[in-house]
Amino acid sequence: MNARTRSDWMAPVKSGLMGGLIALLIAMVGLVEVSVKRPILTADGRILLSVGQLLLLLPIILMCYKAVQVFAAGCEKVTDRLGLLATGALSGFFASLVLAALVLLGRVINLRTVFIRASPDLFNTLTFGLGLGGGSVVLLLFGALLGGLVAAITLLPDRIRRPLVLGLALVPLAAILTSALFAGRGFSVPVALLVGVVAAALTFAWRQTQPKLQDRVAALSPSGQRTYQVFRWLLPVAIVLALPRLGAYPSEVLVNVGLFVLMGLGLNIVVGFAGLLDLGYVAFYALGAYAMAVLTSPEMTWHGIHLTFWQALPFAVLASTSAGIILGIPVLGMRGDYLAIVTLGFGEIIRLVFLSDWLKPFLGGSNGITRIPKAVVGSIALDNSPKLYYLILAGCVVAAFVAIRLKDSRLGRAWMAMREDEDVAQAMGIDLIKTKLLAFATGATFSGLSGAIFASKLTSIYPHSFHVLVSINVLGVIIVGGMGSIPGVVVGALALVGLPELLREFAEFRLLMYGAALVFMMLTRPEGLVPEARRKLELHEADGEV
């Protein structure tokens, strides 16, 4: 612990440079440029800390933290406090060195002919508007200071550190969230302090009282226990029912999330339960939507049938279900990746055929189908998102119920057996053809339902809405949530569909961050956010092997 070799000093330099490079990338793709005017902390209308600056700081802070962790690793208690602080400062210094180098380079040659975001504005942000010389020195000092601070925080006792870090993290999060949802304008310093202190105090208090509360619950009388359980269930239900109260835009986001939850529940059966990798799931979504549109839109005059939403719904769902079976038959003999590419092909075929001039008289071609009526319940037209929310919620609840019941049924177990090993499953007397087709059909049904609601929500649909990226997104939803896990689908949809909606100011970078998040997620938590118990076990077994 005392004898420090050269390599010990290389580690912080390395992580510092890494943090600097990530910050550099963030700056050069333009993330800073778009968000530098979005305030987190303000004072008298001036921006003290913007989202853009925070984005630059974040990788530096994380990498400094990593360096400090490496330094402290293997010690019960860090004795060399000065060394620890120096490690943090060193890594922060090198991180800012990368940025300073960029500024210097940008002044010497015109980077903008290649890197379009290397604008004078960006350099101004990086140097705190102090010009090249002074700005670079301040930048370097600031980096070192920041690194030192990170190290200092790790030195604090656990009891204080956790609430402090939480408070620090919560303030920008809350500021961004409120500005995304309610068009707020960042926090002023006192408000930020208040939010931070309250958050910290609450965490502190919760950590103190939580064990006691648990004891208290355990000590309740049986009837008290029952009330407690009922309350525990009623509370979330009440919250879910009350969500549209948040306003039209949050409801809109939730409806979009709901559409993906429905599709996710279906694909979860196909991929998560039965292990059939389907990349063309959007085909059934498209079919459901188009069936709904063709049957209800007054524009479609070639067949002379004009149904209402509820009359058309069974047909739309039925169309998807039968398509699930019909498209399922040719791929019965295919496995794994062959299946993946063929289903991807199906998705594209459906989209291209719907778009084609050939079927234009029947399906509208590029013009799409417009004037699709909204759903009407009783005398209430579901014409805005807070009302539509309940429709999609009902759909999701039904689908989730079916999925949960199926999971532990004979069929569900057959699916899982098939997922684990087709040949063994067949040997055990499982009819592979029937089981597979049932998986495809159930999955397609949910997707068709989602598509039908989608069509009536939008009132106009176009083939472009059914791109292969939708399939990939749904797959992402179930993977991020946790394969085979039903609550996971909800969490996954919230994370992949809901969260990007909230970060709309980064619209241009949504897919960039989506990609980075997927990679990061798979590297750190491949079992998903809410893993299914069996799958988690499998992954841990795999860990054991390595």
Binding site: L25, M28, V29, G30, L31, V114, F115, I116, R117, V271, L277, I329, P330, V331, L332, G333, M334, R335, G336, D337, Y338, A340, I341, V342, L344, G345, F346, E348, I349, L352, V353, L355, S356, D357, W358, E422, D423, I433, V468, L475, G476, I479, M483, E508, F509, L511, L512, Y514, G515, A516, A517, L518, V519, M522, L523, P526, E538, L539, A542, E545
Partner: protein, 355 residues
């Protein structure tokens, strides 16, 4: 005998045969109708075939990247389309610099080789970084995990390029010596010089790859690793090194494919990789994924049919604007082939289950 046959023939098999026969009837009818209409000259058909071969040879170079990685890691490297995009994208800046200094016009072929080398280096670097950062830690994870990682990496790379270099279209400088035709029998005006160059260079590279995989020690080690990783490791093969080499080879081929693509089509853009990537992967599956020869064959087959079939089949059936359905047709063909050969044209090797 008959009874045993009947037992083997289930409802679904009959259904599939019916689909197959229906497809065949439609195709034959379409071809007959088109040809009997006599609207196209024989030279038109040969032209279309040549266009298809040029497109197919670009697919082949990309498809090999998919198939090599699949053969060894059993994963679809979805981000390979971005490996393909990155090379010519960076190469563009070199080409533009050369063009502005006047060197490109004086020495077009030297310049093209410089651009090619740059593109191959960039693509290789991206491929190796992908393997190192995104895939290596997941070597033992369930198969869907690296697939999702690859999809994520694909998005990330695509939009990083968009952010760094902008969304405008970048056009490669044109080579004056490569304009016009070279005589070629059967065609209406000869073969386009760019296409000739693309076809020849693609075939040279494919031949080099073939020799590399079949004859060299490293190539044999690659085959061994794709057969059985653990056994190969026991035989003293450094599996990690071989996997890196696979990504290097795949990346270099993709970079080369990118430059050939730019030579044919001139434009590079951040999302240019997506469609060729999907097509090349389709081609790899068509040929039998994991099989190097299959990838080449599948690519040429796909290229030619994309160019030929809409006109040959759909025209006769009276469909308007058949080339709009080109991609749909490519996928239908994939389905048709896989119905009767579920592991692709040359894919016996994968008949053993790998799922």
């Amino acid at each position: 005998m008959l009874r045993r046959l009947l037992r083997r023939v289930s409802g679904t098999t009959v259904f599939m045969w019916l689909i197959g026969i229906a497809m065949l009837v439609v195709v034959v009818w379409g071809v007959y109708a088109t040809l009997s209409s006599g609207r196209y000259k024989a030279s038109d058909w040969i032209d279309l075939t040549v266009y298809g071969i040029a497109q197919g040879s670009v697919y082949a170079l990309i498809a090999l990247g998919y198939t090599l990685v699949y053969g060894i890691l059993r994963m679809i490297n979805f981000a390979h389309s971005e490996v393909f995009m990155s090379g010519p994208f960076i190469g563009y800046f070199v080409a533009m610099a050369l063009s502005q200094s006047g060197f490109f016009n004086r020495q077009p072929f030297v310049s093209l080789i410089i651009v090619l080398l740059v593109a191959m280096t960039v693509s290789t670097t991206i491929a190796v970084l992908l393997e190192r950062i995104a895939y290596r830690p997941l070597r033992r994870a369930p198969r869907l995990v690296p697939l999702i990682t690859a999809i994520g990496a694909s998005y990330f790379l695509q939009y990083t390029f968009l952010g760094l270099f902008g969304s405008g279209i970048k056009g490669y400088p044109e080579v004056a010596q490569l304009k016009g035709y070279w005589p070629f029998p059967g065609t209406s005006s000869g073969i386009l010089r760019t296409q000739a160059v693309v076809i020849v260079s693609a075939f040279v590279m494919l031949a080099i790859l073939y020799v590399f995989v079949q004859r060299t020690k490293t190539g044999k080690a690659m085959q061994a690793v794709s057969e059985d990783k653990d056994a190969a490791a026991l035989m003293g093969i450094d599996v990690d090194r071989i996997i890196v080499i696979t990504f290097v080879v795949g990346g270099a081929l993709a970079g080369a494919a990118g430059v050939l693509y730019a030579l044919l089509f001139k434009q590079v853009k951040f999302d240019m990789g997506f469609l060729p990537g999907i097509k090349a992967f389709t081609a790899a599956v068509l040929g039998g994924i994991g099989n190097v020869n299959g990838a080449m064959l599948g690519s040429l087959f796909l290229g030619i049919s994309e160019s030929l079939f809409p006109n040959l089949v759909l025209d006769g059936l009276g469909l308007p604007a058949p080339y709009q359905l080109k991609d749909a047709l490519a996928f239908i063909m994939l389905v048709a082939v896989l119905i009767f050969r579920p592991t692709g044209i040359l894919g016996e090797r994968l008949a053993v289950k790998k799922a």
